[in-house]
Amino acid sequence: MKAELEKIEKEALALLKTDLSLDEIKALQVKYLGRKGLITGCLRNISSLPQEERPKIGLLANKVKKLLEEAFRKALKEYSAKEKRPEAGIDVTLPGRPLLRGTLHPITQIMREISDIFSRLGFEILEGPDIESDYYNFEALNLPKDHPARDMQDTFYISENVVLRTHTSPIQIRTMEKKQPPIRMIGPGKAYRVDSDISHTPMFHQAEGLMVDENVSFGDLKGMLTIFVHQMFDETTSIRFRPSFFPFTEPSAEVDIECVICRGKGCRVCSHTGWLEILGAGMVDPAVFKYVGYDTDRYTGFAFGMGIERIAMLRYGIEDIRKLYENDIRFLHQF
């Protein structure tokens, strides 16, 4: 028993000299001094020794116990002192394990933002087919065949009466055909025109808006779009309406915002006018209401449409529209 105790003492002290972690020190403490530990085991076994050896061994066991208790106390103290030393631990400047961030296309992000703004105003988000009949894309929007205004939109044809929609406006017609006023809807989606240069792509995105009710006025249209511009850009952005022409609205307006790049002072982006055209709008032409069977004496409404690419380019400072459809991963990861 004596030899055993001496071995325990020697072994434990030796172990404590090695470089141990906190957990290891604690584990050793349990191993030697714990309730089922080696020293405790020895003390317990004393009763099985011959009577004469008991006091001597008991004394020794208690001595070893005290010694080890002191040694562990010291080791733990040293450990916590070591822990506070600056050179200890890991290099926290090394990068963490990377988790790749996926991004949504800038067009999607802008579309969502627009949809969210109008959703908050009680507009319902609706969609429609990309390939449309001549009727929905043109005729019911007061653009009969042989009308010169058809030249405003260069159309991709599938057949005589089937086209790739040139704007998202057909969503208006489909919505009004299905339900009676009051209507508040926003229709985001793709549109297509035979056009390709630094500021046009043959496929692009639009968001269409429509509100129909009793007594909706041109002043109200100005109000709604002012809210929109102030949320989409910022509260201080000026907005102006100027007369224009669309076959499906009357009066019609082009809506300009103060150039977000130069704040109206005049720069390359706004062709030195201080203004940027961002959407077209107007009061729904009664001819359109007739196509969908609305009572033109009772209802008035406004409609608007905007190009998403233009807004995305302004928002993110994208100079070449084609970048949006190259889908270079280095570009996409920027958003």
Binding site: P95, D130, F156, Y157, F218, G219, M283
Partner: protein
């Protein structure tokens, strides 16, 4: 349309700054796109005083002038004989680009350096005189700009007209708008015609055989003209807006076209075989050579002007070569007509011919303005080409235009615009642009628009005029009052959002590619000829060969995007696209549109970093992504099956791809792109994709999520390591275990799959950890041991497996 300010000033007094004017026009609906200085090219032409003239040593006809050009003396070589010492002359400094296109440079002329150029009136584009240097008045100061010294100023405005405003396709039309804005009078040209000699009706006649195409046709005859160059004023007017001068007669017709917006045509009267005009539709297939020298084949709905025997002009579009005014022409018949806009539009479109004339006719000219434009042209021709006019005018007018009277309600106008305008204020606005307005009572106006405003037909058209003349910026901004309503969003929106969030969370970036793709895409994917993806919707007028058909799959877009990125050395790619594919159904009907969501993963599994070496993506990585997407949407009973055959998915690698089901509903597939298809896209690295039908997915989504209770008692786990045939699918074993109906099995985890030594060939080892837990009590070891042993025995027997020795 281009307009010159000085020309406009012939009709209206403009007393505001041109930029102010441009702004005002823009704000009333005539968008001024640009304002440019007509004489910008003369910015570097200055006044110079000739202080000395000496003969050129090497050329008899040249002399060397020493010129004080303000900033110092310049030596300039000159050939003109009219200059004297002391003369003030225009000096084009080196670098000047003259209107003729010549750029002035410092150069040696016959061995003598010339530091600029003395200019004639013609060289500066200011007149006809070519023979001598322009001598300026004595008051000019050397060094000042010639522009300033001669008070030359003109501004060019480019106006982007909307298709409804055909009345503004003329100087008078735009001047009318300006007059209304500036509250000035509009001055029409004063036309005084001689009474004429022999009556026109004795000499010619006009017969309209197609009155549905030609509503009015008027003509005058001028004989004994002398064809020549137009006077300077006429040429410079035309040239100022970019039109080329041709001869005095043709220039007059073009000038009046621009002035009145009424297209005119001058025929060589002697080349009209029967000396008369017949307006008829063309014979099918009739050949006709137009002024531009192109022989054209006509069809029976096109309108032609004939001389009794043959066509001499394509009505309203372009004249014929056979009746063109040439140098020898003596007698002229001037045509001024009103053709049916639709007829002209169809003809011009069919022949692909767009002229100043067709552009105006198809938008509608003023049917009442036909005669004034004709008279104006006759007057100007007599002035510029001489000759004498026949007495009277021929005016065939089978379909006279009636004046529309529109009843306008003041209250409804205010309701639509959100204004509070009085009847008088509205009448004033409409009156300012020559609308005839009668106030019937406080709420009603009787409005008669002039015939040149073909766009004003309904009350709402007048409301728009009121709005734009009042000024959109003056209409108060208001907010609509609407009852509170709300609809549940259409299902696809939140579902799309969920998928996008899952994918972005997995590190996938969204791409958007064109909906039209190359026709060869199906071949590249090895899709069989009877596959539905061959039912492609074709575009009749594609922009490029790569955009001829609407896509029937998103995979080509993903692969092409990978090609683009690979070419940019972007080797690691995790991308997805959400969008529609299109399937042809029946001729001339809308195709079927299906929304898909598809993704591609290639390159490294994780972002490269110092933590671990690069490993490349495999099937189980992308399968994990699909599982996460579907889990996020709460799609029930999702499972993956080895395809029975690859006919539907020929582009996927056999043995490394799976079909995805929800119950028995097919959702799509996931797997590796086959080597052959990679080759077709010029790719060579492993690519994994998923392709899901979003529309079908939507129909499978269970919106109900419900909370279940869970046990508070500890779980006990037991492992089960099997050795079995490597053809056995693990899913079968887990399904079997679940199928045992043992309530205490909470969860089954697969923690090891292994093939190779020491496992015998053709076998694999699969290790399961089964978690047992009771909702009611703490399980006893013995109880679990018994159950686990029983289950193990069943599995071993059912799958003919052995226990893997531990």
């Amino acid at each position: 349309m281009k307009v010159s300010l000085s020309w406009l000033k012939d009709y209206v007094d403009v007393d505001v700054d041109v930029n102010q004017l441009a702004h005002a026009l823009t704000m009333t609906g005539l968008e001024v796109e640009s304002v440019t200085d007509q004489y910008a090219c003369l910015d570097s032409v200055v006044v110079g005083r000739i202080v000395d003239i000496s003969p050129h040593p090497n050329a008899d006809k040249l002399s060397i002038c020493n010129v004080d050009a303000g900033e110092g003396f310049r030596s300039i070589v000159c050939g003109a004989p009219n200059i004297r010492v002391g003369n003030l002359v225009p000096v084009a400094l080196p670098g000047t680009e003259l209107p003729s296109g010549i750029t002035v440079r410092e150069a040696a002329i016959r061995g003598e350096m010339s530091h600029g150029m003395l200019c004639s009136e013609a060289e500066l584009g200011l007149g006809d005189a070519t023979s001598g240097i322009l001598i300026l008045s004595d008051t000019a100061r050397p060094g000042t700009r010639v522009k300033a010294a001669m008070s030359l100023s003109d501004t060019l405005m480019e106006i982007d007209l909307t298709p409804n405003r055909s009345d503004c396709l003329s100087f008078l039309g735009i001047a009318r708008e300006i007059a209304a804005i500036l509250k000035k009078d509009l001055n029409y040209p004063k036309i005084q015609l001689p009474s004429g000699d022999r009556s026109v009706s004795e000499q010619t006649s006009v017969i309209i055989e197609a009155p549905e195409h030609c509503f009015r046709y008027a003509a005058r005859l001028i004989s004994g003209v002398k064809i020549g160059t137009s006077p300077f004023w006429l040429r410079s007017r035309l040239e100022s807006i970019g039109l080329r001068s041709i001869n005095n007669v043709v220039d007059v017709t073009n000038f009046v076209l621009m002035e009145y917006g009424q297209p005119l045509h001058a025929f060589d009267f002697d080349r009209l075989e029967e000396h008369r005009i017949v307006v008829r539709t063309a014979k099918e297939g009739e050949q006709f050579t137009t002024l531009d020298g192109v022989e054209r084949k006509l069809s029976s709905d096109m309108l032609v002007i004939c001389d009794g025997r043959k066509p001499v002009a394509l009505a309203g579009v372009i004249g014929g070569l056979n009746s063109e005014v040439v140098t020898e022409t003596k007698n002229i018949l001037i045509e001024s007509a009103y053709f049916n806009p639709i007829s002209i539009r169809r003809t011009a479109k069919r022949l692909g011919l767009k002229t100043e004339s067709s552009h105006r006719f198809e938008r509608g000219v003023d049917p009442r303005g036909v005669i004034s434009a004709l008279d104006r042209a006759a007057r100007l021709m007599l002035e510029t080409a001489g000759g004498s006019m026949a007495k009277g005018v021929i005016d065939e007018y089978p379909r006279p235009t009636s004046q529309r009277v529109i009843s306008l309600s003041v209250s409804r106008t205010n309701r639509l615009l959100g204004t509070k305008l009085s009847a008088v204020a509205i009448a004033d606005h409409l009156g300012s642009i020559e609308l005839n307005v009668k106030i019937s009572d406080n709420d009603h106006l009787e409005v008669t628009p002039p015939t040149f405003r073909v766009d004003l037909e309904r009350p709402v058209d007048l409301m728009e005029e009121v709005a734009r003349l009042e000024g959109y910026d003056k209409i108060a901004t208001t907010y609509p009052i609407a009852p509170v309503t709300s609809n549940k969003p259409i299902q696809r929106l939140p579902c799309r959002k969920s998928l996008f969030a899952s994918l972005a969370g997995c590190g996938f970036s969204q791409i958007i590619t064109y909906s039209f793709i190359a026709e060869r895409s199906c071949d590249q994917l090895l899709v069989s000829s009877d596959d539905s993806r061959r039912r492609m919707v074709r575009i009749l007028n594609p922009l490029t060969e790569d955009q001829t058909v609407m896509r029937t799959s998103l995979i080509p877009g993903l692969l092409n995007t990978m090609v683009h990125n690979r070419n940019q050395n972007n080797e690691d790619l995790k991308i997805f696209e959400s969008g529609k594919v299109f399937f042809h159904t029946k001729e001339d009907t809308l195709p079927e549109e299906v929304e898909m969501i598809s993704g591609l993963w290639t390159g490294s599994r994780r972002e490269r970093s110092w933590h671990a070496g690069a490993t490349t993506v495999d099937f189980y990585d992308i399968k994990g992504v699909v599982e996460r997407m579907l889990d996020g949407l709460n799609v029930p009973s999702v499972h993956f099956r080895k395809p029975g055959d690859y006919a539907r998915i020929p582009y996927l690698k056999r043995g490394y791809s799976a079909e995805i089901f929800s119950g028995e509903v097919y959702l799509g597939e996931v797997g590796e792109i086959s080597v052959d298809v990679l080759k077709n896209f010029d790719l060579n690295k492993p690519v994994f994709i998923f392709d899901l039908n979003f529309d079908i997915l939507l129909s499978q989504i269970s919106e109900v999520k419900s909370s279940k209770g869970f046990s508070r008692f500890p779980a006990v786990s037991r492992d089960l390591a099997l050795i079995l045939d490597n053809t056995v699918e693990v899913q079968g074993i887990t399904d079997y275990l679940k199928g045992l109906g043992e309530d205490l099995i909470e969860y089954i985890e697969i923690f090891d799959v292994y093939e190779g030594k020491p496992i015998p060939q053709g076998k694999k080892s699969v290790a399961f950890r089964i978690i047992y837990r009771s909702p009611e009590k703490t399980l006893e070891d013995a109880e679990v041991n018994d159950l686990h042993e029983e289950i193990s025995k069943k599995v071993l027997e059912h799958f003919k497996a052995e226990l893997r020795p531990s």
